[in-house]
Amino acid sequence: METVYLVFSVLAAFLLYLLFTYNSFVRLRNQVFNSFSGIDVQLKKRNDVLPNLVTIVQSYAKHEQSLFQSIAKTRSEVYSCLEKKDISTLSSQDMALSKHVTSLFAVAEGYPELQASQQFLSLQKQLVHLENQIAASRRIYNSNVTLFNSQLQIFPNNVLNKLFGFQEQNLYVLEDQS
């Protein structure tokens, strides 16, 4: 009789362990998705601010059409990647857009009147602020992904995950297109 109790106890403990492990994987995965939505929000905010900045710089630097077109193209690429949740392409487009923004500020430096414009300065400040928020969101996302992936890889979780089938998530690594 005692053996039966013992077997049942071990089985119950194992089932509880399975339950807790499964739930903790679900929680972690949801946190990863949640932190990706944080990047999504910040990138969309940047995409909303950018056209205003481009318009104001365009009114001074009319000959920089190729830069303005690249910004518009990359911006729509970022939107499309966000829709598809395609992290690897998104990271490269995000990096490209950040570079374009830097070029835009460099162009603006050649126009002292533009530099004195309150509207330009305010938009520039907003964009710098958003870039900082995006960078922080990326780090938070990567930290969550690392934690989630580590949980999936450590023993005995890696064995149990064969049963659960959770997929490891990709880090948000900024890739240079050029």
């Binding site: 946190q31 932190s35 905010k45 907003q126 928020q133 938070i140 930290s143 969550n144």
Partner: protein
């Protein structure tokens, strides 16, 4: 005296000049009689062996204990004096106001203004026999990125009664606090405090749990706020931008668990100011029994300055994020 404080302080009740004069008097006293104290300790120690030589074992033990206590007293005096001298030098260098003395008056004012923060959260096991006090308090301003911020900082000491069976003991805890004047968009107030079993239970029953996008942050902090409605939650989430979350996690990693504490690392956000508390003294004790330990070097003041700079940096970053929340 034009210094900022989140509560109305009657500065006539704080004897700045006398306290600093007493600190300097203590310094000159120890410096003057240092070799006398050392000689005294050696004499007591040597005489204990004389007692042993004439088979007076109880006196031998008594004198050994006496020399030990004299040594501990001298050591503790030098350490505490050095702490005061470092802080005084930092205050003089930055033109801040500094009060080294223990003040139950300041504690009573601040525990009324920030009742839950300075009073209730550490009151569960607090001894009724000893009154908590503030010590080594600074008032001043610092500049970061073209902005100037008023602040006050210091040590907050309280006593806790520990009992096991019939034995009862009183343990003194020291936390340090930093209060920075900052106009924020926060309606009401909310607090963040180190996560522990009690906070997990409270959050479970009162549903005061806000999940941010950072696992590190969620594992470090619990929330507490007055109105448990969705508007308050939205307000809090708008304050906790990714940059703020990262800064608070780094603050937690640096500050939490560095010393014993009832409160741990805690942050209170209000419309007018932000209050931080963390375990341990603002300036931990340094080793040293030599007379030269009392000379305050640039290195000593740099340690103190670094500890304050951590708060200055965090406050300025928070200010940038909090005032830009409309973006």
């Amino acid at each position: 005296m034009s210094v900022w404080s989140p509560v109305e302080i009657d500065f006539s009740k704080i004897s700045f000049e006398e306290d600093i004069a007493s600190l300097k008097k203590k310094e000159s006293f120890i410096k003057r009689y240092y070799y006398g104290f050392i000689a005294g300790i050696i004499v007591v120690l040597m005489s204990s062996f004389l007692w042993l030589a004439i088979n007076q074992f109880p006196f031998f033990i008594l004198f050994i204990i006496l020399s030990f206590f004299l040594f501990v007293w001298l050591h503790a005096s030098i350490l505490s004096l050095k702490k005061g001298l470092i802080k005084l030098k930092v205050a003089e260098k930055n033109k801040w106001v500094y009060s080294p003395a223990r003040s139950t008056y300041l504690f009573s004012l601040f525990s009324q203004r920030f009742k839950r923060f300075f009073y209730e959260e550490t009151s569960t096991l607090r001894s009724r026999r000893y009154t908590p006090f503030f010590e080594h308090v600074f008032w001043g301003a610092f500049d970061k990125q073209t902005n100037s911020y008023d602040f006050m900082a210091g040590d907050f000491n309280y006593y806790v009664e520990r009992s096991s069976g019939k034995d009862r003991s009183i343990v003194r805890y020291t936390d340090h606090f930093f209060i920075v004047r900052m106009r924020t968009d926060i309606k009401g107030e909310f607090r963040l405090y180190s996560k522990n079993i009690a906070s997990r239970i409270t959050n479970f029953f009162f549903k005061q749990n806000i999940v941010t996008e950072s696992i590190d942050f969620n594992n470090s902090f619990s929330f507490s706020y007055q109105n448990n409605d969705s508007e308050t939650k939205v307000d809090i989430m708008s304050v906790l931008s990714p940059v703020v979350i990262e800064d608070l996690v780094s603050f937690y990693k640096v500050k939490a668990g560095t010393a014993r504490s009832m409160g741990g690392a805690r942050i209170l956000f209000e419309q007018e100011c932000i209050v931080f508390t963390a375990p341990g003294s603002l300036l931990p004790n340094k080793k040293g029994l030599r007379l030269s330990s009392l000379d305050v070097s640039e290195e000593d003041t740099a340690v103190m300055q670094d500890r304050l700079d951590l708060f200055f940096e965090l406050a300025s970053k928070l200010s940038t994020s909090l005032t830009n929340s409309e973006y």
